[in-house]
C-alpha cells in the first residue's frame, strides 16, 4: 500500500515516511564496537567444536585429547600474534572477566608491594567497577583526567605515581569515542618513573585494530574479547606476563593452572583462535580502508549544521588528514547532532536498515550520562544527542555512502519534530 500517497502535500511528513520505509532490505551494521558478526570460518570452527569434537579437555580419552588440541591451537595462534608464550594466555568468559582477573587478581596477589592503583576517567565499567570493589577493600584508586579529545593528559597521569603505586590500568581504545592512548610511549615513561609498576591495558576495542606486542611494549596484562573481532560471544582472554604474580578470581577444579577454574569453553576458544588467525590476513589494507571510510564519513558529516565530532584531536577538523585521523581508532566515529534525541535518530536509521548505537551500547540500559562523554567535557545538551557509528573490516564504501546520505535526509526532518521548550 502506498502509505505515502496520503501525505503528498506535507513535504516533511512524506520525507520522514519515505525514509522510514525500509524498501532496500539492507542491513548496514555500524555497531561493531558493541559486537560483530562471526566470519564463516569462525562459524564452521564453532560448529565443529560444538557438534563433532565435543569432548571435555580434562577427559583422559581421545575425545578429551582432541578438545585439548583445539585449545592448544588457539592459544598458539593468539600467542604468536602477540609474540608471547601460549602459557601466558588465560581464557576467560570475555573482556569483563579478563579485566576483573587482571585487576582484582593482581592487586590481591601483590598487595604487599603497593596499595595504590591508577586508572583513567574514561574506563569501561568492567575496569571501573572492579576498582571500586578494590577501593572498598582498602586500596587507593586515582583517576587520571583526559583532554577534550579523550587523550590522557600525560603530566597529570605521571604526577599521580607514588611510592606505593602498584598498578596502572589504561584503556587502549575508548569504546565510546574511539580515542586512542599512546600506549607504547606511556608504558615506557611510566616504567622509567617506577620500574616495577604493573601495567594493565584493556585492549578490548584495540585488539585486531593494532599490532600489539605486549612484551616489547612493557604491557604486563592485556585484556581482549572474542566478539569484538568477529569471534564468538562468551570468550575472551587475558595475557599475563609470566613474571607477574596473579591470583584467581574464580575458584574450582583448577583448570588453566588454577588461574581460571571451570571447564574450558572449547568452541569459544577455538572460535577466538580462528578469528585471530583471520584478523591478520591482509591486515594493513583492512585498517587503511577503515581509515579512509572514517575520513570520508567525518568530512561529510562535519559539514552538516550543528554537528560535533567527538574523540578527535584538536586541529583534525576540518580536513581530517590521515596523519591526524591516525591518532584515533580506525573504526569508531562519535557524532553529536544538536537538537535530535539519539534514541529517535537511532530508530530512524534502523528503519532504513542502518544499525548504530547511542553513546555506548553496553551502558544504554542506564539513563545515567556517559562517563566518557562527561570526561571529555561534552556539553550537557549534546549528551543525549550522540550516536556512535562503528565499523569493521567488513564495512563497505557503499554502506558508508548510503549512511551519509540517510543522515543528511533525516536530520532536518528530525529537527523539525522536537519537544518544544
Amino acid at each position: 500500500m502506498d502509505r505515502c500517497g496520503i501525505l503528498d502535500n506535507i513535504g516533511a511528513l512524506c520525507a520522514l515516511k519515505d525514509l522510514r520505509k525500509d524498501g532496500t532490505g539492507m542491513e548496514i551494521y555500524l555497531d561493531n564496537s558493541a559486537t560483530t558478526k562471526v566470519t564463516e570460518g569462525v562459524r564452521d570452527k564453532l560448529v565443529q567444536a560444538l557438534y563433532e569434537d565435543y569432548g571435555n579437555p580434562s577427559s583422559m580419552h581421545r575425545l578429551g585429547v582432541k578438545a585439548e588440541q583445539y585449545m592448544k591451537e588457539a592459544a598458539s595462534i593468539i600467542a604468536t600474534s602477540l609474540k608471547v608464550e601460549p602459557k601466558e594466555i588465560i581464557f576467560t568468559s570475555g573482556g569483563t572477566e579478563a579485566n576483573n582477573l587482571a585487576l582484582v587478581g593482581t592487586a590481591l596477589a601483590n598487595r604487599r608491594r603497593g596499595n595504590h592503583i591508577i586508572t583513567t576517567r574514561i574506563e569501561h565499567p568492567s575496569v571501573h567497577q572492579p576498582l571500586v570493589h578494590l577501593e572498598e577493600m582498602g586500596f587507593e584508586i586515582s583517576f587520571a583526567p583526559v583532554d577534550n579529545s579523550g587523550r590522557l593528559i600525560k603530566e597529570k597521569l605521571f604526577e599521580l605515581i607514588k611510592e606505593d603505586t602498584l598498578m596502572v590500568s589504561i584503556m587502549y581504545v575508548n569504546n565510546e569515542i574511539g580515542a586512542v592512548q599512546e600506549i607504547t610511549e606511556l608504558a615506557k615513561e611510566l616504567k622509567n618513573r617506577k620500574k616495577d609498576l604493573i601495567l594493565h591495558v584493556d585492549a578490548v576495542q584495540a585488539f585486531g585494530k593494532y599490532r600489539i606486542y605486549p612484551k616489547r611494549e612493557g604491557i604486563d596484562l592485556l585484556s581482549f574479547s572474542g566478539h569484538k573481532i568477529h569471534g564468538p560471544k562468551g570468550i575472551g582472554a587475558l595475557y599475563v606476563n609470566e613474571k607477574i604474580k596473579i591470583n584467581p578470581v574464580v575458584f574450582g577444579g583448577g583448570h588453566q593452572k588454577g588461574l581460571r577454574s571451570g571447564t574450558e569453553n572449547v568452541p569459544g576458544i577455538a572460535g577466538l583462535g580462528q578469528a585471530v588467525a583471520e584478523l591478520y590476513l591482509d591486515f594493513d589494507a583492512k585498517i587503511e580502508r577503515m581509515y579512509r571510510l572514517k575520513q570520508k564519513f567525518l568530512r561529510e558529516i562535519s559539514q552538516l549544521e550543528d554537528t560535533t565530532i567527538n574523540g578527535i584531536p584538536a586541529g583534525c577538523a576540518p580536513d581530517y588528514s590521515m596523519e591526524q585521523l591516525k591518532k584515533t581508532a580506525p573504526h569508531v566515529m562519535s557524532v553529536s547532532f544538536r537538537g535530535v534525541r539519539s534514541e529517535v535518530f537511532l530508530h530512524s536509521l534502523e528503519d532504513k536498515g542502518i544499525y548504530v548505537s547511542s553513546g555506548s551500547a553496553c551502558s544504554s540500559h542506564h539513563p545515567t550520562p556517559s562517563v566518557t562523554l562527561t570526561a571529555i567535557g561534552l556539553a550537557k545538551e549534546l549528551m543525549d544527542s550522540t550516536l556512535r557509528f562503528s565499523m569493521s573490516s567488513m564495512t563497505t564504501e557503499e554502506e558508508i555512502d548510503y549512511t551519509i546520505e540517510q543522515i543528511k535526509e533525516l536530520l532536518p526532518v528530525l529537527r523539525k519534530y522536537t519537544r518544544k521548550k
Binding site: 500500500m1 502509505r3 496520503i6 501525505l7 506535507i10 516533511a12 511528513l13 520522514l16 515516511k17 522510514r20 534514541e343 529517535v344 535518530f345 537511532l346 530508530h347 530512524s348 534502523e350 528503519d351 539513563p367 519534530y417 522536537t418 519537544r419 518544544k420 521548550k421
Partner: protein, 391 residues
C-alpha cells in the same frame, strides 16, 4: 496429602436464575488456569467447584494458579479418604488431624455433610461421634462449637473428604461473565492496574497500544506486550492491537497549537480505540486515568477526551492516589515492568505547559485544521494495526 481442592465463591452464589452462567464461567476459568499444570478434573457441584488433582501434582504451583482466578472467594485443600466405612473414616480423619496439627493445643469443631443419604449416621451424628473419636485420640484437644480455632469439615460421599484449611482467593467474578471491554494500555503503571480491576468484575479484555516509531522504540512496545502478558495471567488471553500513531501525531504537531497536542492526541486515541472496540464487540473502553494525576487528567481534560466516545469509558482508578495504584501494581507484579524507562508516545512531544483546562469548543476549533487528512489517516491506522495475541 491433599488430593483435591474445594473452591468456594461468594458473590456469584447470590445470582438468581442465570447463576449457572456464572458457575460455568468459573468452572471454565479454573480449568484453564490449571490446564498447563497437568490433568486436573474440574467439576461443578452444589454451589462449589471441586478440583481433583492428578498424581504427583505440585501443591504450591496449584494454589498459586488458583489464587489468580477471579471469582474464587476461598479454596480449601482437601484430603480424600477412599472408603466411607466408619472405621476407616474415623481413622482417616484422625490421621489428618495428627499430620496437619503437630501441636494439638487448640479448640476445634467437626462439621459434617452427607451426600449419601443412606449412610448409617446422620450429619449431626457424624459431628458428635467424630468429635468424640478425636477427643479420645488426642486428649489435648478441646471442643468449642461457637468459635473454634479449627473447623474440621467431613463430607461423606462414595469417598470421604476432609478439610480444615481455608486459603483466601481474589474474590470478584469469573472473567467472561460480564462482557468485554477495550483497555487503552500504555507502558505506565496505571493502565495495567485498570485492566486488572475491571477484569476482576468479570470483564474479559482486549487492549490497544499506540506505537510511534521512531519516537518510541521496539523495546517500549515489547514492554507493553510484557505487561499485557502479566495481566493476562489473571484476565485470560487477550488480543493486543498495536496502532501506528506516528503520522497522526506529527500531523497534529504540524497543524495544532502545541499546548493542545496531548489533549487532541488523546481524543484521537479514544476514537481509534473505540473503533477497534466496536470491531471486537466490546461494550466499553477502560483507561487508567486518575483525576488530577497529569495535565490531561483534570476534569476539563477528561471531559474533552470523553466527548469523542459513544461507548461508556470505565476509569476504575479515577479516585485512587498514585501510591494505592502502585500498591496494586506491585501485588499483580506489573510494577517492575511498568517502571522500565522507555518513552511512550504521550510524552515524546509533550509541551512544557500543556493546557490543563481545555475548552471543548476551542479544541474542536483547533481540530478543524486536521479535517483534510485526519479521517484518511485514522483509516490507515486501523488498516495497518498489528495484532499480538497475548497469553
Amino acid at each position: 496429602m491433599f488430593k483435591a481442592f474445594l473452591i468456594k465463591y461468594a458473590e456469584i452464589g447470590l445470582k438468581g436464575n442465570n447463576r449457572y452462567i456464572f458457575e460455568n464461567a468459573l468452572r471454565d476459568r479454573v480449568q484453564e488456569a490449571l490446564n498447563g499444570l497437568g490433568e486436573y478434573m474440574v467439576s461443578k457441584e452444589q454451589g462449589r467447584i471441586f478440583v481433583e488433582c492428578p498424581d504427583g501434582y505440585d501443591y504450591e504451583e496449584t494454589v498459586a494458579a488458583l489464587k489468580k482466578v477471579f471469582g474464587i472467594s476461598s479454596l480449601c485443600p482437601v484430603a480424600v479418604i477412599e472408603s466411607s466405612e466408619w472405621e476407616s473414616l474415623t481413622q482417616g480423619v484422625g490421621d489428618y488431624v495428627e499430620m496437619m496439627y503437630p501441636d494439638r493445643n487448640f479448640t476445634f469443631k467437626v462439621e459434617a455433610k452427607r451426600a449419601d443419604k443412606n449412610y448409617p449416621y446422620t450429619s449431626p451424628e457424624i459431628c458428635i461421634e467424630m468429635g468424640a473419636y478425636l477427643l479420645h485420640r488426642f486428649p489435648e484437644l478441646q471442643v468449642d462449637v461457637h468459635e473454634p480455632s479449627v473447623r474440621v469439615t467431613v463430607e461423606v460421599r462414595t469417598k470421604c473428604y476432609v478439610y480444615s484449611i481455608i486459603i483466601p482467593g481474589l474474590g470478584g467474578m469469573p472473567v467472561g461473565c460480564n462482557g468485554k471491554a477495550m483497555l487503552l494500555l500504555s507502558g505506565g503503571i496505571d493502565s495495567p492496574v485498570a485492566g486488572y480491576m475491571l477484569s476482576k468484575r468479570g470483564v474479559s479484555l482486549a487492549a490497544t497500544y499506540f506505537h510511534a516509531p521512531p519516537y518510541t522504540s521496539d523495546r517500549a512496545k515489547q514492554k507493553v506486550v510484557d505487561l499485557a502478558t502479566i495481566v493476562s495471567k489473571y484476565t485470560g488471553p487477550m488480543k493486543l492491537f498495536v496502532v501506528n500513531f506516528t503520522d497522526i501525531q506529527l500531523y497534529i504537531y504540524d497543524q495544532c497549537p502545541h499546548e493542545e497536542l496531548t489533549i487532541i492526541m488523546r481524543r484521537y486515541m479514544m476514537k481509534i480505540a473505540e473503533k477497534l472496540a466496536e470491531q471486537e464487540n466490546c461494550l466499553g473502553l477502560i483507561t487508567g486515568e486518575s483525576l488530577g494525576q497529569v495535565a490531561s487528567q483534570t476534569m476539563q481534560g477528561l471531559a474533552a477526551t470523553n466527548e469523542v466516545c459513544n461507548m461508556p469509558v470505565y476509569r476504575p482508578l479515577i479516585a485512587f492516589d498514585k501510591k494505592d495504584i502502585v500498591e496494586i501494581a506491585k501485588e499483580i507484579n506489573t510494577f517492575e515492568t511498568s517502571i522500565q524507562p522507555f518513552e511512550d508516545c504521550c510524552t515524546i512531544f509533550v509541551a512544557k505547559h500543556p493546557v490543563t483546562k481545555p475548552s471543548i469548543k476551542v479544541i474542536k476549533r483547533s481540530e478543524e485544521k486536521l479535517e483534510e487528512k485526519i479521517n484518511e489517516m485514522i483509516e490507515t491506522a486501523l488498516n495497518t494495526v498489528e495484532i499480538v495475541n497475548v497469553k
